[in-house]
């Protein structure tokens, strides 16, 4: 499996961060950064990282299954994450999520057929004082109203 030179450079740098013989420490960052490039944690990717770190594919698989941000299926080009945890709930997060469901015609963890959008109801994303908050891919949007959500989604090409 081949990666971009930028990702290879990032991997090489990462592997220097850990004590001798403990390079497995790089597994989660490698999965996260590779997922961005590959689009999902594929079987091939898990096998490749297992080989590079000297662990089994099963060990990579059990780690992948544990973390909510690692996903084996591709998400939409724009992954819309609406927080409905307490701080957001108090400021209309649940209504915002319902609105997003209708607007995108998607449910929790669903991806549109054309692959443009996917939706997820997420737990606290750390924007509680500026609630309700959403993330589109890695970008935060604070104090989101239904109107503002429409604007954000319509602005994504």
């Amino acid at each position: 499996m081949t990666f971009s030179p930028q990702l290879e450079a990032r991997f090489a740098e990462l592997l220097t961060h850990y004590p001798e013989g403990r390079q497995r420490g790089a597994l989660i960052p490698m999965l996260m950064y590779a997922q961005d490039e590959v689009g999902a944690v594929t079987q091939e990717l898990m096998e490749e990282l297992a080989k590079r770190l000297g662990i089994t594919t099963l060990q990579v698989d059990e780690v992948t299954g544990y973390y909510s941000m690692l996903h084996k299926k591709p998400q939409g080009k724009y992954h819309v994450q609406v927080c409905t945890n307490v701080a957001c709930m108090l400021r209309g997060g649940a209504e915002l999520y319902d609105h997003a469901c209708k607007k995108l015609n998607l449910g929790h963890k669903q991806t549109a057929a054309d692959g443009k959008f996917s939706l997820e109801e997420v737990e606290c994303i750390g924007a509680c004082s500026w609630a309700p908050a959403i993330q589109v891919n890695y970008d935060f949007h604070h104090e989101v109203t239904t109107g503002k959500l429409d604007e954000i989604l319509e602005g994504l090409k």
Binding site: R24, I28, E62, E123, C124, C128, S129
Partner: protein
């Protein structure tokens, strides 16, 4: 970098003093505003002197548990063949908490300096800043900050000519609340599932890669330079006895001016809410406050006239936790709050130990059937009993974190739960379908 909310003139800005100023995250700005003086001071001190100064400040961990920081550092063995490490908990995931983000956005080198001082105090050579995966923008930002620190010799070999070497890296999480628990965080740092370790041994003796490790929250490290600059006593005197200094409080919910504010420990909660937070949204009546993240027992309006420090909050039966304060007005449905809190802990339970894995699942199911109108009369007691039986019976505090708010909700707002149940015509039947 812009601030997300206006600061208040009533704040005591010790660790947030550079927030919102131009280029506050750059090395030049940091050095021009008194940065690295504390580290230089630390280099003239013995290890014991540094730890004693931190002890004198009565600084307690700002991540949630409130353990005295100086004491934590003193547990690291002096005579050890093993390398020693520093790990920064930047996994900020406790619902209601959004302060560590700001410390790393606006004044990341203050945290780096605090880490260097801790490293000096315990003789550590290497460290990681473990940042939750959702904060990718912040990981990229910290990578740029660390790069500049290396270029300007604030990190690396012979730091600022002091002869001290230290390496610091970022490490991304991948979405797991449990990794904010220190031993689960260390598992994750080693490339494993984030499940807690049995203790002892504590991280001070066997932490990252089984070596002695100091593990503190972002805010805790960020506070250390001010303590060395001003002296432990000066810092302690900002707060109340045994509860030194200031802390960042993340105000959220039904208030006019939600935001992150730095206040001295011991400030009255109602004063904070009204004078800094601008009072209740829409002039509505206060019903309840979650004082420090969703794992804290919830205070009813009558209990909120209380000083915000660790000891007073403990007396009031709750905690200052991670500083995530969520304010609820009279329109809030406390049964729905209970369900939303439990959905979170059930989702985040790592599954390692049974009381938490099964307990949060059953509590979520029972709360959901009450909200859905299928609750049985006996459910209210059963929820309280089940939550009670989880307390202290799990590997890590996640079980307690799920149980504590639930117990307080059932105890203080029982009629609301009963009102839901009363609407179910079959509430008294023994056989109730499980959701």
């Amino acid at each position: 970098m812009k601030l997300y909310n206006e600061p208040s003139p009533l704040e005591t800005r010790v660790i947030s003093k550079r927030f919102g100023t131009q280029n506050s995250w750059r090395v030049d700005t940091y050095l021009a505003t008194g940065g690295m003086q504390a580290f230089k001071k630390a280099c003239e001190m013995t290890q014991d002197q540094i730890i004693d100064e931190v002890k004198a400040s009565s600084l307690r961990g700002r991540g949630g548990a409130g353990f005295p920081t100086g004491m934590k550092w003193s547990f690291v063995p002096r005579q050890s063949e093993l390398p020693k490490y520093i790990v920064v908990n930047a996994d900020e995931s406790e619902p209601g908490t959004c302060k560590d983000r700001l410390l790393m956005e606006h004044d990341p080198i203050q945290m780096v300096e605090g880490i260097l001082i801790a490293a000096k105090a315990v003789g550590a050579s290497k460290g990681w800043v473990y940042i939750r995966g959702e904060y990718r923008y912040l990981i990229d930002h910290m990578d740029a900050v660390l790069k500049e620190c290396y270029e300007r010799n604030l990190l690396g070999k012979n730091i600022l000519g002091t002869g001290f070497d230290f390496d610091l890296y970022t490490q991304t999480g991948a979405g797991a609340y449990e990794c904010g628990e220190e031993s689960a965080l260390l598992e994750s740092l080693e490339g494993k599932r984030g499940v807690p370790r049995i203790r002892p041994p504590f991280p001070a003796v066997s932490g990252a890669f089984q070596c002695p490790t100091v593990l503190n929250n972002v805010e805790t490290f960020s506070t250390v330079p001010a303590i060395l600059n001003g002296g432990g006593k000066w810092y302690a005197d900002l707060g109340t006895p045994r509860n030194g200094g200031t802390r960042l409080v993340c105000l959220a919910g039904h208030v006019n001016k939600p935001g992150v504010y730095e206040v001295p420990l011991g400030m009255n909660m109602m004063y904070f809410l009204n004078e800094i937070g601008g009072g209740m949204l829409g002039g509505r009546k206060l019903k309840a406050i979650i004082p420090g993240g969703s794992s804290c027992p919830i205070l009813s309006a009558e209990e909120c006239d209380v000083a915000m420090d660790y000891d007073t909050m403990a007396k009031a039966g709750t905690m200052l936790g991670s500083g995530g304060m969520m304010v609820m007005d009279e329109t809030t449905d406390m049964v729905k709050v209970a369900l939303r809190i439990m959905r979170f802990y059930n989702h985040e339970s790592c599954g390692w130990c049974i009381p938490c894995r099964e307990g949060t699942t059953w509590l979520r199911k029972m709360l959901a059937r009450i909200v859905d109108g299928n609750g049985a009369a006996r459910d209210v007691d059963l929820i309280g009993d089940l939550a009670q039986s989880m307390l202290g019976r799990t590997f890590c505090p996640l079980g307690d974190a799920a149980a504590l708010p639930t117990i307080s909700l059932i105890k203080k707002w029982r009629p609301e739960f009963e009102a839901y149940v009363a609407k179910n015509p079959f509430a008294s039947t023994e056989l109730v379908q499980v959701a």
